[in-house]
Symmetry: C2
Subunit: 175 residues, 2 copies
């Protein structure tokens, strides 16, 4: 059975991006030869589900839109958003989307980007695994990994991995 | 040379207390026989610096005000706050307070409670060590461990300790 998982790098104070969008805090924290599970994430993912802001950032960087891209659903109400051949815009029910995505691939579904999207999936009990790579910096402000939720969730720690760079990757399964 | 350190337990989404103040999420997550460094924290601390809200909570629970309490500075502008014989109210400059507290004990200074106080000390470069015990729950909302800051801080991970309960204690030194 394929899984829905969400995972990103975040500062110790819980931000995935600084206010000005500068990513040097992340790039400067990573050490040569350390992979942090990125290769494994790419390998296991059959479909990405991402937020509109993350997608706009990817379009700007030239990372999105190509034919070779892994199939991606972009959660957005903006039907004018430019899209590539592997991208579909989606504005409907998230439970339906999770089920649909699972049926379209044998591999796993990765929820990537802004904390709000991931948090909505968690709140709906659609996430099987959460991975957070805690980068040893305090950003002070920015885009939070987790949005606010109206529910309490108990988690089970399934892995704790410490890297020489000081990055710690924690993997949890919601209970 | 004695140190100024701040440390608390927080949910994975970064809250030290839920909105309704219920602490069962923390108590239920701890396992028998696991100490999480609390005994060591008490042993090494000569003076506590805490926020007014934390102190009000302690007064309510009967934990504060006794003669045997470790000397404590409460950061507050409310000079009417009830205080015990070991408690002093403080509303002045935090750099002066850190220096003063260090001179009054040979042991370490523990900044305890609401994230805002700790964040102010970090912003002023007054903190030698930050310890966060990440509890495997998502609270969704509440009192954040870290307040917003106007500065970027690089940290050095000095310890990563995983407990059977799934609690992970991370210790950092600001650079």
């Amino acid at each position: 059975m394929n899984k829905v998982f969400g995972g990103m790098a975040a500062s110790l104070d819980g931000y995935i991006a600084s206010k000005d969008g500068d990513m040097s805090w992340l790039n400067n924290s990573m050490a040569k030869g350390e992979d942090y599970g990125f290769a494994e994430t790419i390998k296991r993912t059959g479909i990405y589900i991402i937020g509109a802001n993350t997608y706009r950032g990817m379009l700007g960087s030239g990372m999105a839109g190509g034919k070779d891209m892994t199939p991606t659903y972009v959660i957005t109400h903006d039907q004018d958003l430019k899209k590539g051949s592997q991208t579909q815009l989606y504005s409907g029910d998230l439970t339906t989307l999770a089920k649909k995505a699972k049926s379209e691939t044998d591999k796993d579904i990765c929820i990537f980007g802004g904390g709000n999207i991931l948090t909505q999936f968690i709140e709906l009990n659609l996430v099987d695994e959460i991975t957070i790579s805690i980068v040893p910096v305090l950003l002070g402000d920015g885009t939070p990994f987790f949005g606010k939720m109206h529910v309490f969730k108990k988690l089970k720690l399934s892995e704790c991995k410490e890297y020489k760079s000081g990055i710690v990757t924690l993997t949890y399964k919601p209970q």
